[in-house]
Assembly symmetry: C5
Homo-oligomer: 256 residues x 5
C-alpha cells in the first residue's frame, strides 16, 4: 500500500514541475493568493459539510494509509497456527507470553480476550463491532477525500471567475490582459492538480487499504475464535485459508 502512493505523488509532482520548468516560467506558477482561494475555499466547504472531529481525523487516517502496513496474510496464518498449537499443548494461559511479540493492537486485544477465558461468541461479538467502527471511520475518510476532490476544482473555477472579472477591468493594456488571465487560470490549475493528483486517487487508495485491513481483521477474528473453540492447527489453517486466493495457498503452505 505504501510504496505506490509515495512513488505516485513524488513522480506526479516531478512530471508536472519538470514540464513547468522546461516551459521556462516556474515563478508564474507560485501565487499565494490563488492558492489561498483554492485551498482555503475547499477547506471551508469541507468544514461546513463535515463535523470538526471528522475533519481533523482525516489527516491521521491519510497518514496511516500511507505509513501503516497491512499485516502479511501468510504471517498471520503462520502465527495463528503456532498459537493453536500452544493452546492445545499448554492451554490458553500459555498464550499470554506471546502477546509482547505482536505489534497489531487488534490482534493483541483478541489474544488477551482468549487468555482471559472468554468464549468464541463473546470474542466474535466484541471484535465485529470494532471492525464495523473501523469501516465507518474509513468510509467517512473516503467521503471527505472525495468531497475535497470535487470542491477543489469548484473553488479553482470560482477563483478563475474572480480573476477574470478583475482582469476585464483594465482591458486597454494588452500586457495586463495576459498576466491577469494567467493568474486567473492558476486557481483552476491548482484545483485540478489537487483533485486529480491527491484527493481522488487517495480516496481510492483509502478504500483499498480499508478493504485489506478489514480482511486481515476478519482473519484474526476467525483464527482466534477457532483457537477459543480448541480446534487443532490444521483446522485453523483451513479456516484462514478461505480468505486468500487458491494460487497463494500453495505459497502459504510452503512457508508454513
Amino acid at each position: 500500500m505504501d510504496i505506490a502512493t509515495i512513488i505516485g505523488i513524488l513522480f506526479g509532482f516531478i512530471v508536472i514541475i519538470s514540464a513547468i520548468v522546461a516551459g521556462g516560467g516556474w515563478q508564474m506558477f507560485i501565487h499565494i493568493p490563488s492558492m489561498a482561494i483554492t485551498i482555503g475555499g475547499m477547506l471551508c466547504a469541507t468544514l461546513i459539510h463535515f463535523s470538526l472531529p471528522q475533519f481533523l481525523g482525516i489527516f491521521s487516517i491519510v497518514k496511516k494509509t500511507i505509513i501503516a502496513k497491512v499485516p502479511s496474510q501468510s504471517e498471520l496464518i503462520q502465527k495463528m497456527i503456532n498459537f493453536a498449537a500452544i493452546n492445545r499443548r499448554d492451554g490458553a494461559l500459555a498464550l499470554e507470553q506471546e502477546i509482547p511479540s505482536l505489534d497489531n493492537s487488534f490482534f493483541i486485544k483478541g489474544l488477551q480476550m482468549l487468555v482471559d477465558g472468554r468464549d468464541s461468541e463473546q470474542i466474535r461479538d466484541f471484535m465485529s463491532i470494532e471492525i464495523q467502527y473501523l469501516q465507518d471511520r474509513h468510509l467517512t475518510g473516503k467521503k471527505i477525500l472525495e468531497f475535497m476532490g470535487s470542491a477543489a476544482p469548484a473553488f479553482g473555477m470560482i477563483g478563475t471567475l474572480i480573476g477574470l472579472v478583475l482582469m476585464l477591468k483594465n482591458l486597454d493594456s494588452p500586457d495586463a490582459i495576459g498576466a491577469g488571465m494567467a493568474v486567473a487560470l492558476l486557481t483552476t490549475f491548482y484545483g485540478a492538480l489537487a483533485a486529480n493528483l491527491i484527493f481522488i486517487p487517495l480516496a481510492g487508495k483509502l478504500g483499498l487499504y480499508s478493504k485489506a485491513e478489514v480482511t486481515a481483521m476478519e482473519m484474526i477474528v476467525e483464527g482466534i475464535c477457532s483457537i477459543a473453540r480448541g480446534e487443532n492447527p490444521t483446522a485453523v489453517r483451513e479456516k484462514m485459508q478461505a480468505f486468500i486466493s487458491p494460487a497463494r495457498r500453495e505459497e502459504v503452505k510452503a512457508s508454513v
Copy 2:
C-alpha cells in the same frame, strides 16, 4: 455540528472577499441585477420543484442544523441510568419530577408516556413513527438544498448568457466589452459560490446532523423501553452502549 458550519461559512467568505479586495475591485463584484437573476431564478425553480410548505420549511431546518445541539451520547446514557435507578427504587411515577430537568422534547414525550404507564411496545411504536417523520423531513430538506446547489450554477449560466448577448450588441467600443463581459461573468460567479460554499456543503451537513439526531432518538427509545420493562441500570447501560464505538465506551464508563 455547530461550530464547524459557522467557521466554514465565515472563513469561506473572508477568503473570497480578501482575494477580491486584494485584487482591488470589490465594487465590481456587487451587482444587484445579477444577484436577482441567479438567486431569484434559483428560488423560482425550487418553488416549482417543491411545494410551498416544503420550501418554507427548509429555512427552519437549516437554522436548526446550525443552532441545535445533538444531545451528548454520554449524558444521555448517564441520565437514562439514573432514571432506571429511580424507576426501580420509587416506581415510574417518581420520574415525573425529572421531566422539567430535560430540554429535549422527544425525551420528555417518551418519559411522559413512561410515567403514564404505557408499556414498552406502545412507546416504541409511537416514537418510531416520530423518528420516521423526522427522517423524512430532513431528507426533503437535504433534497431541497441539493436542488438549490444544482439550480444556482444553472441560473448563473443563464445570467451569463443574457449578459453575453447584451454585450455582443455593441462590440465596437472595447471598453464596453470588458465591462459587459465582467458583469456577464458575475452571475456564474454568484451561482458557483452559492452552490459550493453554501448549498452543497449544507446539504451534506444536514445529512450528518440527521444521522446523529436519529441515533440519539433511537438511544432514547431503547433506554425508555428498557426502563418500561423494569430493567436494572446495568442492563440499560449495556443496551445503550451498543450505539457508541468501543473506544468511547471506556470514557462513558468513567464518566458514569
Copy 3:
C-alpha cells in the same frame, strides 16, 4: 401543489425578462429560428425516444399536476368516518346516495364497489392495480420531462454550433461577428432556460404530486376496505391516521 408551481414559473419569467429589459435589448432575445432549433429538436428527440401516445399524454399529466388538487387528508378521514357510521347504521346500500357528493372518481369507484357488495379483498385487488397503473403513468411522465430537460440544452448547444459555423464564414466584418455570436448564443440560452425553469423542476413536482396522490388513494383503499369489513368509525380513523404525521393527527382529531 398548485400555487407554488404557478408562482415559480410566473416569477421566474418576470425575473429573467426584467433583467433582459433592464439590459436594454429585449428584441435581441426573440429569434424564431433559434427557438425552432431548440424546441423543435428537443420535441423530435422526445418523439424518437417515447411512443406517440406517451408523448401526447405528457401534456395532460402536466396540466393535471398544476391544476388538480390532491384531496385534503383530513377531509378524506372525516368523510370515511361518516361513511363508516352510515354503513354500520343503515347498511352499505345507504352509501349509494353519498356518491354524488364526491368529486374524486377513484373514491366513487371504490364506494360503488362497496355498495355493490364486493368484499374487501376484491376491492383492494382491483384498486391496487389502478394505483399501480397511475404510478406507471406518472413515472413515464417524469421520465419524459427529465429527458426533455436534458435534450433542450443539448439542442441549444447544437444550435449554437450551427450559429458559430455560419458566423465564422464572414469574420471580416466585426459587426457581423457580434450579431452572429449573439444569435448563436440564443439557442443555448433557450435550452438552458427551458430545462432549468420548466422541465427539470416540473419533473420534480410531478414526482411529489404522484407521491401525494398515491398516498391519498392508498388512504381511500384502506378506508373503504375497513368499511367493507364492517369496522366501526374509530377503527377506520385509526387505520387512516397511520398515513399522516403524529403532529398533524391532533389537528385531524380536532377537525373531525
Copy 4:
C-alpha cells in the same frame, strides 16, 4: 413504436437543415474528413468495446425496433380466447390448423408445443428462456447505442482539437482562422447531432420496445399455459387481462 421514431428523425433533420439553409451556408456543413473522424472514431471505439457479432447485430435490432410491430394486446387476448374454445371443443390437435394464421414466430412455437402435447410447465420453462435471451439481446443493443451516444461527442471533441491545432499553425491570415475554426467546430456538431438526435433517443426507444415485446411474450406464455391446463376461455381472458390497464379492459371486453 413505429411512426413516432420515423417522424422524430425526419422532422429533426428537417429542423436542423432548415436552420442551416436559412443561415445561408449549407455547403460549409458538409465536410467528409470531419465526418470520417467523428463517425469512424465512434465506430472503432464501439468495436473495441463490444464483440464483432454484437456490433453487427445492433443494426438488425434497430431496424426491427423501427419496422416491427408489437402485437396488439387486445388481438392477442381475442386469439387466445378463440384457441381456448377450440381446445375445449376439439382438443389440442385441432389447434394445428390455426398455426398458419399467425405471424408471430414466438406464438407459433408455443402453439406447436401445445399441439405436440407438452404440459404447461415444459412450455413455460422453454419459453421463459427464450424471453430471457431476447431481453439480454435487447439490453446489449441498448448498451451499444448508449455507448455510441457517449462516444460520438467525444470523437467530435477530438476532431475539434485536431482542427484547432492545425488552425493555430497559420494564425497570420485572418481568413484562414475563420474557415479553420468553422471546420474544427463541425466535428463537435456532427458528434452532438448524432448522439442527441439518433443514438440516445433510439436507445430509449429500444428500451420501451423491448418492454412492450416482453409483455406481449409473457401474455402469450400465460395464455398458452392456461390452455395447456385445459382452462375455459373466461379464465384465459382473466389471466391475460392482468397485463393491461383497467381502463383498457373495458375496451378489450367490448372488442372481444
Copy 5:
C-alpha cells in the same frame, strides 16, 4: 473477442492519423513533453489509487483479453459429453489420458480432481472459489482501466492549463500565441484520445470478456460435477445447454 479489439484500435489510429496528415501538420502533433504530462500524470494518479501489484497486473490482464480465446461453448459441450461417455464406460481413471488433449488450465484442474476421485461437492467448492477470484481480478482490472479513462483527460486539462499560463507570459508576439496555444491543446488531445480510443472501450471489453470466461468456467464446473455424479452423456448435455441460447442449441445438437 480478439479481432474486433485489434481492428478497432488499428482503424481508430488510422482514422485519426489520416485526418492529421490530410490537415498537413503531423509534426505538430508529436510533442514529447505534452505526452509526458498526460501519460505520466495519469500513471502516477493510477499508482496512488491502486497498489503496485494491481497496477502491474493490469498489463497482463489487457494482453490476455486481446490475445486469449474464450473456449467455444459447443466444443466444451462436445468434450464434456465424450468424457461422460468415457467415465460411464471405463471409469474416472480412464479420463487421465484425456488431460494432455486440453489447453485450458481450469478444465485440466477440474478433470484432475475428477480423476483423483473427489466428489462433486468438493470439486464445485474448490472451483467456485477459483471463479470468484478470477472475477475479482477482472473487476479490479476494469476499475483500473476506467480510472485511467477518467484520469487521462484530467491530466490533459492540467497540461493545457500549464501551457496556457506559459503562453500568456508573452502575449506580444502573435506567432508565439498560435504555437503556444497549439502545444497547450495537445495534452487535452492526447488525454481525450487515450481515454476514448483505448481505456474506456478496453474497460468495456474486459467486462464482456470476463463474463464470457466466467460462463465457460461455470459450464466446465457444471459438466465435471455431472460426470462426478456418474450422470449419462444425455443428462450432461442438457445441463450444459442451459447456458446457451435456444437458437444456438440446435446448432450444438447438429455439431455434437
